[in-house]
């Protein structure tokens, strides 16, 4: 008995030593960065975009010899776009000391859930896509984002896109019951007054719903001229189809959540006459952006989307910071926070990025639309 136990103990010690040995040697070799997005579930299409964008940048960095001679390695964390899963991914990243920074999360509600964990662990996160306004407060200086916020986007829609581009002033809002969509809805409502736009009704739906006809029926009673698809593309495409079936032929409009090729694939003909605001539009981008769009198309065989572009720049920003500070969690945060004015901003394909005290940055919005089954610039 005693012999067996000693043997077991020695085995355990050896095993542990082996495991630790492997992790420490891996730590010495690579700079590890966590990338948190939904890679499965209904929002998996977005995760694909993020993966595509960061992988292009990753290849660029590593082909050029890495950062100060060290290769960059990405660690994927699947948060399914859900707060509770995001918490688990966050805890995993926080506990893994070899991870020096996080790109993510994608969905605002996921970022909101994970941010307190990163703050406690002292790990900086830079989100390519989370536009909810309140994250800047929750992030306590550890959060940065490479995209505009919902208050900007919603107000831009209400004061510019709807009255000027569409020429409509009676709008029904159909929003998903989550942090992103509610924030967007509230900022739209705030901007609607000044834009002279009347909101005829606002109804909510839950993620994963397939039957939207009861809410649509209710919204259409007030005869809106346009419907605001305040949510993500998977549901947005179904809402478009069902709204058309119920006899609504006016324009639909949405924000960056609708921007995905699947919106057209699922929506089919119903998707036509949809307008959306996006942070990146290849047609309107500078030469670096055009070049990126070309490379993206060549690598993945599809058109570039704004999420891939923003994710590409996120890794670019981190790489630039890490090259200066070295792979240290606290120093990376300070390095990101130091990008605080136009003069020292990061020049990426999505324009100039520099952060304010809450980690927000000012980015322009572009408008595109679906015409004959294709996304085209609306301006």
């Amino acid at each position: 008995m005693r012999n067996k136990r000693t043997l077991l103990f020695t085995g355990l010690v050896f095993g542990l030593a082996l495991v630790f040995g492997i992790t420490t040697s891996a730590m010495a070799e690579n700079i590890r960065i966590g990338v948190a997005s939904p890679y499965s579930g209904g929002a998996a299409g977005y995760g694909d975009n993020i993966k595509a964008g960061v992988n292009l940048k990753l290849k660029e960095i590593n082909d050029a010899g890495g950062i100060n001679g060290k290769k960059v390695e990405l660690v994927w964390g699947d948060d399914v776009c859900e707060p509770k899963e995001a918490g688990m991914v966050g805890a995993k990243f926080a506990a893994d000391k070899s991870i020096v920074a996080v790109i993510g999360h994608l969905c605002s509600s996921a970022t909101l859930a994970a941010m307190p964990i990163y703050v406690r662990a002292g790990l900086a996160a830079i989100s390519p896509t989370s536009t909810n306004v309140t994250i800047g407060d929750v992030g306590k200086g550890w959060f940065f984002r490479n995209c505009y916020t919902d208050d900007y986007q919603g107000q831009f829609l209400a004061s510019n896109v709807v009255p000027k581009l569409l020429g409509k002033n009676k709008v029904a809002i159909f929003y998903e019951n989550n942090d992103y969509a509610i924030g967007l809805k509230d900022s739209f409502m705030a901007g609607a007054k000044s834009g002279g736009v009347t909101v005829t009704g606002a109804e909510a739906y839950m993620k994963g719903t397939t039957d939207f006809t009861p809410q649509l029926t209710k919204l259409l009673v007030d005869k809106p001229e346009a419907i605001f698809l305040c949510g993500y593309y998977a549901e947005g495409a179904l809402i478009a189809g069902q709204a058309r079936k119920l006899g609504f032929n006016g324009p639909l409009f949405g924000a960056d959540g609708i921007d995905n090729e699947d919106y057209i694939k699922i929506g089919g003909k119903a998707a036509n006459n949809t307008y959306l605001t996006v942070p990146f539009l290849a047609d309107a981008a500078g030469p670096a952006g055009q070049d990126f769009a070309k490379r993206f198309k060549a690598t993945y065989g599809r058109d570039v989307d704004w999420m891939s572009a923003n994710a590409y720049d996120c890794l670019g920003i981190l790489a630039q910071v890490i090259a200066k500070t070295g792979p240290d969690r606290k120093k990376i945060r300070d390095g990101l926070a130091a990008i605080n004015s136009e003069a020292n901003g990061y020049k990426g394909i999505t324009g100039l990025t520099y952060f304010d005290k809450k980690g927000n940055c000012a980015k322009p919005a572009f408008v595109k639309m679906v015409k004959d089954g294709k996304f085209v610039s609306a301006e």
Binding site: A44, G45, T209, P214, Q215
Partner: protein
């Protein structure tokens, strides 16, 4: 608006009813809540789309073919997952059912990918989109009528099978008392397989209709539909086939009217609230039999 909401509610309610019937039949014969039933429903939609877009089979042929595949899936599910546990405590089978549900979801994710897919609309008969009837501002498309018609035909057919045929009689016998049924010469395992096949075919049909009508299918679509249908089955009195049918329709209409007149934010909550209220007032459900607790069933 009321009429339109009623149409909306009846459409989804009929579909809930078709799934709920599967829950209730299986519970009737083996006293098992088959939580993987929602996944059979999901598979139905995916089978149909695969037949249409990969093999180029027309819609009318793909529909029954996918139903047959779902029936086979139901039987296989029983043979591999539940039959080995027939003599084990019920809890073991219940956990297995949940496990199978997760397994099938992820299997579908591997095979078809996790992105939501559209239903090939060009494969649907052109007249589906056309208006069949119009009254009080409500447009009823042929697709609505197709769903209503098919739901009614299947429900009536199911009732006839259960009431009039030898298989139906055997099913009812097994539901009443397995041991006695076996003693009278009924092959109990075969009757159970037959029940799973029937439930699978109906669930598959519901999946195809939802996929085609709402134009979206994804591997996790069975979860919400399964939970709703389970609620419908409980509402109607689990084990009772007419109860499940009525339960599904009541739930669908409650949901649509609730979303239309109360708050759309609590749409799912409203349908579950209706279920809870009914269960509190009539614990056995609308059509449930009140059984005295016996030692044996403990």
């Amino acid at each position: 608006m009321f009429l339109q909401q009623l149409v909306n509610g009846l459409t989804i309610g009929g579909i809930y009813a078709m799934i709920a019937v599967g829950y209730t039949m299986i519970y009737g014969v083996v006293q098992l809540i088959n939580f993987a039933h929602g996944e059979i429903y999901m598979l139905g939609a995916f089978f149909a789309v695969t037949f249409i877009s990969v093999l180029g089979i027309p819609f009318y042929a793909a529909f029954p073919l996918a139903m047959v595949c779902c029936a086979v899936c139901g039987v296989l599910l029983d043979i591999f997952a539940y039959r080995p546990l027939r003599q084990s405590p019920r809890l073991a089978a219940l956990i297995t059912a949940i496990g199978m549900s997760i397994f099938l979801q992820n299997l579908a994710m591997i095979i078809w990918g996790s992105r939501p897919k559209p239903f090939p609309q060009e494969a649907l008969p052109a007249y589906f989109e056309k208006t069949a009837a119009s009254f009080g501002g409500v447009n009823l498309s042929w697709f609505h009528l197709f769903i209503f018609g098919l739901t009614i035909v299947m429900m009536v057919g199911l009732n006839l099978i259960i009431k009039k045929t030898r298989w139906g009689r055997a099913m009812r016998a097994v539901a009443q008392n397995k041991t006695m049924a076996a003693l009278t010469g009924i092959n109990v395992n075969r009757v159970i397989s037959y029940t799973f096949a029937l439930a699978g075919a109906l669930g598959g049909a519901a999946g195809i209709m939802v996929g085609a009508f709402y134009n979206s299918l994804y591997p996790t679509m069975g979860y919400v539909a399964g939970v709703k249908a389970f609620a419908a089955a409980v509402l109607g009195g689990i084990g009772s086939v007419p109860g499940a049918m009525l339960g599904g329709v009541v739930l669908g209409v409650a949901e649509a009217l609730g979303a239309g007149y109360l708050s759309s934010l609590y749409r799912d909550g409203i349908s579950y609230a209706v279920m809870i209220i009914v269960i509190i007032l009539i614990p056995a459900g609308l059509f449930g039999r009140v059984l005295k607790e016996t030692k044996k069933s403990m």
